[in-house]
Amino acid sequence: MTIRSRMGGTRRDTRGVIRASAALLISLVIPGVLLLASPAEAGTASEPGVKSDIKCLKCHSKNRKKTLEDGEELSLHVAKAEYANSVHGEIGCTACHQAIANKKHPSRDPISSRRELSVALNQSCRSCHAENYQQYEGSIHARLVADGNHAAPVCTDCHSAHRVESMEVYQPVTGLPCKNCHENIFDAYAQSVHGGARVNGNVIRPSHIQAPICADCHQAHEVTAVAASDHLTSTCLDCHEEASLAHNEWLPNAGLHLDVVSCAACHAPLAERRVNLELYDNIAQLPVGQHESHAAFEKRLDAIDEANDGLDPVELWKLVRESSQAGQATDITLRGRMEVSSGVDAHRLAVKTSAVRNCDSCHQKGSDAFQNVTVSITRADGRSLRYEADAEILSSIVSVDSVSNFYAPGGTRIKLLDVLLVLSLIGGLAIPIGHITMGRIVKARKKEGEQ
């Protein structure tokens, strides 16, 4: 517009105007074309790459708002430059807002809430990012969204809606979307051997490869609940390939330890530890809870633990027995595992030399590690439902059957066997002492008789 009016007002000096216009055209249009051709690379684009988007942004670059059914006002503003610079700047608004292309816009259809809109629009990511979306659908995040959890993230919560950035942006420690929700955990990570190395240029030791960031262990899109499996141990071993052999060199039953003790239980030495006993169906080869509603399980648990004071050994035995009877063709056992008590603790990983290496810290009566005991079922989405249990569960003779697969010599020793050992010792000494005494009495009487 400005150029046109200027041209219209300078007819008297046509040559000068043509020269000036040509220079202006070259200086403005050519860089603009170049920027539009590759906005992300250039990083300075101010216009989106698709022509129709200019039309969209005519309205959406203004500070317009729509009142939602829940009363919240939804801003319709899209920052033009940010969008143009995003990796989506060249695909066009309607690539994601597909519904808008097919009907009259602006629509007067009501939107119940910002969350509903985000969840609905989340589907549009699938059309281009099918593989990532499929992984996301199997994640704990997607399951929580499906359960109506408003804090659980959809794609845009991590990637943003209109300033979607390249994956490389997520690599630096400060740029992670994970910490928006998991701030405490992220802080613990940042202080850990991994986080520290990441901040300090990935240097743990000269030969070390890149230190991991959240997605390296937890996956970017297929994020599973930590309790869903023991996959994190194998994740650790993916990088620490030598760890199994290194443990074998000094740790008795190293394979068993790696199975039943989480890496963090020893490698986060300041962490609080606990034993979790997960109800597991040996025949279905599935954790209990995946084929039974947790509500039904909780009902049974409440009936057994009437006092609601945590499961004692007899109550646990009943729970295992009744769980076996409740389903069809089930063989319920408890899979014991020592782990850290919280996600924050799990991320306080220290340098190798600080790891717990003293066997006595677990293998003795009264060890802290065996004072916190929980019994859990694992829901289909991988989340654990934990119930408090008496620490006595680990040292009761009643638990020989119910906790048959978790035992730490010394640490979870059975009290009744201690009593039997003392009796055996007393008996083993009483027989000789009694026999010698008897012999002396008989001898003395014999002597008396002779006298």
């Binding site: 000094w250 039953n253 056992t333 066997c359 059957d401 010599p409 039997l420 083993g428 000789p432 008897m438």
Partner: protein, 215 residues
Amino acid sequence: MQTIYAEHSRHDETYINPLPVRIWHWINALGFVLLILTGVQLRYVDLFNVMSFEAAVELHNWVGFTVIANYFIWLGYYLFSDRIKVYHPELDARKFFRTWFQQVRYYSYGIFKGEKSPHNVLPYDKFNPMQMVTYQLVMLVAVPVQFITGIMMWDVKRFEVWVEILGGLRVVNTIHVLMFILFVFFILVHAYMGALGKKPSTHFKEMFTGYEEQD
């Protein structure tokens, strides 16, 4: 048979325990004591602190395998010699119980009266009925059970199928500890009864020299 017996007899002594049996016995005795001590250490770290848990496990494993290997000296010797007769059970139940009660009566009454043991020790009949039953149970049941459960716990992952068949690690450990409790009792009583020979040193000397003094 008589020839061998004659060759291995002195004028007032009978050759009861051949060399392989004596070697096995003392290795076994030392092994059992070490296994009990290291077993106590690794089970009761909170009460005893003679060595670290790690060292106790290491020593327990080494001694355990030595005792297992030693068991096969005993088994091999008896399987391939006619001395296995000492372990032949008395199949006549009436006779067995009669002699067994005689022996019990002797240890609980007769010995104080100065009576002679009802069982006469011979190279091919060296165990009295009480010893016979006890040693058969110990050597053919308790010791193998202890070896098997011990090996399973030495490398649980390697033997996890067998551990599972037995009912799980806690079951295996409970059996192992019950046997350990039994052995503690056995060793104390066994050592005492070893002193109930003609003289307190008679049976101990016999286990070193092989010869038992005749009454």
